[in-house]
Symmetry: C2
Subunit: 343 residues, 2 copies
């Protein structure tokens, strides 16, 4: 007779991410009882509707919506400019003619003016986060993100668009009402550059998409797959930065989030909602972030090797001195065990 734990990792392992090339440590002996890591059941603090700045964004000085679906009056989802933007366009133009940010020197340093866009995507219902939207509404959220994304595609000043969601204060959300953010920058971010390079090198060497190889291997090993439907697959990666980290891939290879068909978005939404509900149930409604990883805005033909996907990171661990000093994350639950707990 074997115990379940017989198959589990007993000592720690350094595992190398095949996309970014980064090392992470899986160190299960740091958490003797994985269940202890999961927070105790707590009631999520809901802010009241009264005083919520996102109930009626036009009334609370957010200005006209940039996009609103199905229409401005009966909006289910709308995009407005963030009131405290990280980046602002030169002339406050709504993707139009403006001067590009340019790099200049301050002493020995290179600096680029923070020019770009910082949008908020707001869904109408104060209490329903992404997991609880109707399928139709959830697809509408991804669709409006795609449409906004496409507005940036031909602006040669812009390099990358990052789309993300912070759910709960521990994940960095300062306002309760469900909202998503779209930040568009004049440079390609280092982590993205890193992964694009790794993915390109893998393709050059093996003539295969590195993400497709990961998906194939996860399907063969089966121990870390959380959910699968016709068009999408979710697993806890073998190389996890965080316990219960999840990646959702469209099964069909595609480098560009903005090109996903409505059919494809439906499969991805189905998978994303499923795992967010699992996090709510199995991890006692813990806060989390999710974000879209896709190719840069310009030179699209360069990134055929990349495979767009969504990453979900439940807020479990704290980055401490070792992580901050080395850039190596220590993950204290074996991804195989995490998958068993989550499923």
């Amino acid at each position: 007779m074997f115990h379940v734990s017989y198959f589990m990792l007993h000592n720690s392992e350094l595992r190398k991410d095949i996309v970014s090339g980064d090392w992470i440590v899986i160190s299960p002996q740091r958490a003797k009882r994985p269940h202890d890591l999961i927070r105790k059941p707590q009631k999520r603090k809901k802010a009241p509707i009264k005083g919520c700045p996102f109930e009626d964004p036009q009334k609370t000085t957010h200005g006209e919506p940039i996009l609103a679906y199905p229409n401005k009056k009966n909006w289910q989802v709308q995009i407005v400019q963030n009131k405290y933007p990280v980046f602002v366009p030169w002339k406050n133009s709504n993707v139009g003619v403006h001067v590009c940010a340019s790099a200049f020197q301050k002493g020995p340093y290179w600096v680029v003016d923070g020019r770009g866009y910082h949008d908020l995507v707001i869904t109408r219902d104060h209490y329903k986060n992404f997991a609880h939207l109707s399928k139709h509404q959830a697809v509408m959220v991804l669709k409006i993100m795609q449409d906004r994304y496409k507005m940036f595609l031909n602006d040669s000043c812009l390099a990358y668009t990052s789309i993300f969601h912070n759910w709960g204060p521990k994940a960095g959300a300062s306002i309760y009402h469900p909202h998503y953010q779209i930040i568009t920058l004049p440079v390609v971010p280092p982590d993205v550059q890193h992964s694009l390079k790794g993915s390109a090198q893998y393709f050059q060497r093996y003539k295969k998409c590195v993400h497709c190889v990961m998906i194939d291997w996860e399907k063969k090993s089966r121990s870390r797959i959380i959910y699968e439907n016709k068009g999408a697959i979710v697993f806890i990666p073998f190389v996890s930065r965080e316990p219960f980290e999840l990646r959702i891939f469209p099964k069909k290879h595609s480098s560009f989030f903005e090109d996903a068909t409505k059919e494809n978005l439906k499969w991805v939404v189905d998978a994303l909602q499923k795992v967010l509900i699992l996090i709510e149930k199995r991890l006692n409604d813990i806060d989390y972030n999710f974000f879209i990883h896709t190719s840069p805005l310009r030179n699209k033909n360069k990134y055929y090797h990349y495979h767009w996907h969504i990453e979900v990171l439940p807020k479990i661990s704290v980055s401490a001195g070792f992580e901050l000093g080395t850039g190596i994350e220590i993950t204290v639950i074996d991804p195989d065990v995490a998958a068993k707990i989550l499923k």
Copy 2:
């Protein structure tokens, strides 16, 4: 008449770290009133001496000390093995003969067994953190770290030693009693590799240590220097990942922490204690991490261009979807303003 704020940054800037090459964003408009970011005065939760596992580490199954100063009986500081080590040596040998960890493949991934060392440095006084040790004791702490570090130097299985301190639960400390950690790994961590490469490239191009250039420029601009003595300088870097991030450099160029003379350590300790007290007073005793950045253990002659130093990171912000998805940190206080608040 000028307002102080006249000189401050109004919009955001992308700033490139000249050592690592990474971009960060300084986005002061995200925090209209910098003082709001500082937590309200709270009493630090002190764990009682009774039941503290570090009061008498030998009694609480930590085993014989690896090093104890001034001696085992009257120890002021001692090093023991961590009870929940991230890395363990093959034969539990105390730096001696053992088999090196080797890389092997699991599916498409490269894996290295987590072999190495994970030590705890414990100071005797339950209530005195590094800031409040006597100068003599504080120097003893760095000295014992140096001596332990030297034990790893000639072991060809080991690549890098990370020395760090987590102060307070938000910075990842699970035990109140002040302690420090020394983790020794079989690979050079990615962030370190990154900075070594950047520092080497800078040296090749300009025939100068990039850190010495940073120090010179900070001295000229003066607006971010927090403290300076004969042998050490502390400033908030122009490219800060976190509000109130601090770097302490020995003024004399040296690539290796372990080579610092006692005289040098005294200057560094004086500076480190000064800024930790400033954090306690001006930032209402917020939790923080500090860590030593130094050259790898092997091939010492390759790293003449590097300049060892200590980084201090007060735990102020949460990494949210943007940071996690892009690797770009958003710092919401202009480093010049942060310096004014902290000094």
